[in-house]
Symmetry: C2
Subunit: 191 residues, 2 copies
Amino acid sequence: MYSGSMSTSDRLIESTRELLWERGYVGTSPKAILEHAGAGQGSMYHHFRGKPDLALAAIRRTAEEMRAAAEGVLGSPGSPYERIEAYLRRERDVLRGCPVGRLTMDPDVIASDELRAPVDETLAWLRGRLAALVEEGKEQGQFAPALDSGEIASAILATVQGGYVLARASGSPAAFDTAVRGLLALLAPLG
Amino acid sequence: MYSGSMSTSDRLIESTRELLWERGYVGTSPKAILEHAGAGQGSMYHHFRGKPDLALAAIRRTAEEMRAAAEGVLGSPGSPYERIEAYLRRERDVLRGCPVGRLTMDPDVIASDELRAPVDETLAWLRGRLAALVEEGKEQGQFAPALDSGEIASAILATVQGGYVLARASGSPAAFDTAVRGLLALLAPLG
DNA sequence: GTCTATATTGGGATAGAC
DNA sequence: GTCTATCCCAATATAGAC
C-alpha cells in the first residue's frame, strides 16, 4: 500500500489518517488499520499504546499538514480579499469532507481532551489567520470598518465546514461551491 | 426511560434518535438501543428488519421534527431579515450538534441512498425556504438585488452547520454564536 | 409481541515465540 | 521489531419458546 521506504510506524500512522478521514474514529478499528498498513498486531502495540495513541499521532499529522496547506494559500501574494477568496476556492476533496472538522462529530474524539486538542488548535489557528487578513483588509479599506474581524473569520470558517456538510448530504461538490459563492458575494470588497 | 403510554416501537425509535444524535450511526449499536428503550432483541427484530431499518425510521422522524421547528421560526411574522435572524439565533443544543447534519459525517449513512435521502431532503428544503425569504427581502429592497438568493441561502445554511463544528471543536457554544454574528453583519439590511 | 438462547464475526488488547 | 496465538467482550442477527 505504501512505498517500501516508509517505516512501519509511518505506515501505521498514514493508514490511520486515511481511515479516520474515511470512517472517523469510532468507525475505524485497529484491525482495519493493520490490514491497510500491511502490519501485524505486534507492530502496532510495539509502536503505540493502543488505538487512541495511534489516532492521536495521526490526527496531529493531519492537523499539521492542513495548517501548512492553508498557510500556502493564505500567505500568498494578493490583497486580503483575494487571499481569502483563494482559500475558499482552493482545490478540495469536498465529498470526503474535512479531515480535521469531521472529527468534531466523533463522540470519542470530543470526549477526549487529548484527541480534541489538535482539532481545536487547528481551527483556532485558521480562525486567527483569517481574522488577521480581515483586519488587514479593513485597514486597506477593502472591508467595512464596522465589521468585527473575529466574527467574519468565524463565519468564513463555518461556511467552509458547513459547505462540506451540504455537499455530502446532496452527494455533490457543487453544494460546497454554491455556499462559498454566496459568502464571497456578501464579502465582496467595497468600491 | 419513557412514559408508559409509548409503544415499544415508539420507544425504540425515540431511543435510536437519541443515540444517533449522540454517537452517530456507526457508534450506535442495537444493543445500546435496546438497553436505552428497555426492550429485548425480539421486540426490535419484530418491529424492524434490523439496524438500518430502525435507523431510517428514526432519521425520518428527526428530519420531520426539524422541518417543523425551522418552519416555526422562518414562518413567523417579521421582515425577511428578521426571520432569517430569528432562525440563526434560535435556541439550539449547540454542543450536541445538528441531529440531521451530523449524519453526513457517518460513512454508513452516506453509503446508503435510503439513509441519506431524508438528510438531503431536509437540508434541501431548508435551503429552499431560506432562498425564498432572501428573494422576498430583495424585492422589498432589504438585500442587494445583485445577490443570488440560492447562493445566500446556502451560505446561511453552511454557516449554521459549520457553526456546530466550531462549537464542538472548541467545546463552547460561543463559537457558534460568533460565526452567526459575523454572517448577520455581512447580511445586514441596506439603508 | 416479547423473551431468552445461540451463532458468527469483529473490536481491542495481551503473551510470548522468533 | 514483528509475528501468531489467545482472550474477553461487543456487534448484529436468527431460532424458537412463551
